[in-house]
Symmetry: C2
Subunit: 446 residues, 2 copies
Amino acid sequence: MSAEKTEKTPSVETIARRARAAALQLAALSTESKNAALEAVGSKLEQRREDILESNRADKADCEAEVEAGSLSGALFKRLDLEGSKFESMLAGVGDVARLPDPVGQVTLATRLDEGLDLYRVSCPLGVIGVIFEARPEAAVQIAALALKSSNAVILKGGREASRTNEALVSVIQEALGEVDGVSPDAVQLVSTREEVREMLDLDRWIDLIIPRGSNELVQSIQEATRIPVLGHADGICSVYIDRDADERKAVAVSVDAKTHYPAACNACETLLVHRERLGDLLPVLGAALREAGVEIRADEEAAAHLDAAIAAVPEDYDTEFLDRILAVRTVASLEEAVEHINSHGSHHTDAIVTEDAAAAEYFLSRVDSAGVFHNASTRFADGFRFGLGAEVGISTNKTHARGPVGLEGLVIYKYRLYGSGHAAADYDPGAGEFLHDEIEPRELP
Amino acid sequence: MSAEKTEKTPSVETIARRARAAALQLAALSTESKNAALEAVGSKLEQRREDILESNRADKADCEAEVEAGSLSGALFKRLDLEGSKFESMLAGVGDVARLPDPVGQVTLATRLDEGLDLYRVSCPLGVIGVIFEARPEAAVQIAALALKSSNAVILKGGREASRTNEALVSVIQEALGEVDGVSPDAVQLVSTREEVREMLDLDRWIDLIIPRGSNELVQSIQEATRIPVLGHADGICSVYIDRDADERKAVAVSVDAKTHYPAACNACETLLVHRERLGDLLPVLGAALREAGVEIRADEEAAAHLDAAIAAVPEDYDTEFLDRILAVRTVASLEEAVEHINSHGSHHTDAIVTEDAAAAEYFLSRVDSAGVFHNASTRFADGFRFGLGAEVGISTNKTHARGPVGLEGLVIYKYRLYGSGHAAADYDPGAGEFLHDEIEPRELP
């Protein structure tokens, strides 16, 4: 029994070792070969559409019962569905990724250390990435495509509800990869249980980056359980600060959009800070616009006096990601106080100032310690697509590696390639030869 | 008593909070102001030379007794000494850092999202850095200078043996900073006990990066004890692979330099891999050259047959950082086997191939998963100064953020600044407005 089990479901360490081997192979693959692999994946998914949708229907049937029993939300059920236009856009996504520039092989530094001794810093894949995502099965395909484009192997863990769909998708991807020269099907693998995720988080020797895509709780629990670098964000407590010199039209446009465009998003505004001098004239206008958009306002006493139907805020409201049409409003005495509030209560995600005072804007943008610092623009612009990055791996509130909306460049690092002809460091000891350190043209590296 | 203690020695959390506040101030500082601060630090150190050297003599006196008692090594005692040319080069180092380009404020992406809505990705400091170093007190000054130049606050922990010297240096730096506008003395702080280091490692809310500079054990123990990103390397197991098509002169030059130029360095070669077909003609020549340089060779049976006075290698020799004139030699049947050996036994630091075969070199350079991959050049070139980076914060074997010899750019990240005039994301929903996403000229940001 146990031997049979081993054969059927390899250990997570075996999966990770295989992924590492596949990654080392991918690292040497040309852009053309990677695009060919992506094309093969797209075609195979199209060919196997019916099989995949059948698995998806089986998942949905199971979940329907759970929705009826009340143990699963209707929203989650919707996200699970892969029929119709969702399947099409999933396929289109693979083509989009193929058309993105190759993030690997970019020369970012080229220095002639001496005659015949040339140094190049060249972007290269990270290696093996573990991605934990919830519900939407099309994420498996999107992530696999991004990983392949950046020459990384990936281990996927999808939501339990979509397990059959994910298995079908990954097995089709593996089948497609198996038909491409120089790519191992092990480049994209799937694990399915929480226990396996826990095992993954211990494999810092084999896995280079973990990307959790999902709820605050998911991300936090992963950050706490692993020594592998985690790319992502837990909280999204974004603020809009209405400065003394705010323009009314801009204040309304930015606040209402930041709060109501999509309240469940991480880049939605949760806290509105208002300069004391604008409580009398501007806050009532803002309050009316927000109320009209269905927003519940929780305000401090001073601000509440200028608002209709505001609820009294409690301290925790300023540390809460509501993810809903609820907004905490706080009066501040100065720009400095606003910045201090944001740096200590916010989540270093995205924060905006509304002001006509350029110096105040610069003060805010240079001192607010967040991935996105916006002047007279909604926090909702913090997004890989809106930023024009082409693809988004996730939004990071990390201070190292990659910050803010992360595109393919978040999946690469670099290595130093040095080309000599028998050069020895001793020949450059003090009193011996001198280095040139001349900047040279980056050459095409094979 | 306890109140007095609190006043004298603030808690590490207090130190870190103060550092954070100082860092937010530094983030907005101009290049000129930072250089002025560095100049002030240099002058003050010069002024206070006698006080500093007096503290240094007190440290030395204490340690002399320990050296005599045999509880401290003579090498360590030497590293502690700050007299004479060491003090001069410490001062010169501060000036060197001032002359480096400012790593902060570099615009690495500029996109017009729409008319009047411009996005800039701008390099910015990490925030607060914790640096743990051993013995050499001049490291405190060098690190403080690098931190200031990159607008980061720093918390230093030096070696116990140099405690008085470190205290004198940091108090002089703080005094200098106190006289510069816009810089808080809290930008450079010192902690002194191991207990404080342990506390530091828990403060992931206030500290953004830890840089341990010292022994393998120090680095490893820190990596294991913190969730804060750690920049550095534990092991330095570097290899040189002598390919079938290796040139004899280059093979000798690279192997001897990599092993003997400075055997105690992390970029020294520990393992020599030799292609089976070169055991007969080339290995004896290499062996003789290495033996002449005082190297003890531990070889597998096959290789040993072609070497005079080689010791039989045990498996652990291929996983050992000797940091001494000892070299593990192993026969490989192919380039592929060499790459596999390096990827599984090496420490992903720096590895070299000696070959005249360009295709073999490319195979090696693209598949060896190390920060430095060198062709016909000694591993000893893996160094910030030799690479021309101007300053070296450390050498990193991390896969994320910064890899290889790390200069000032390893102490910065970036933020996205978006400048609009009341722009709302809803205006770009499908069917509404379209983004331009035009690349624009990076403008000078204040």
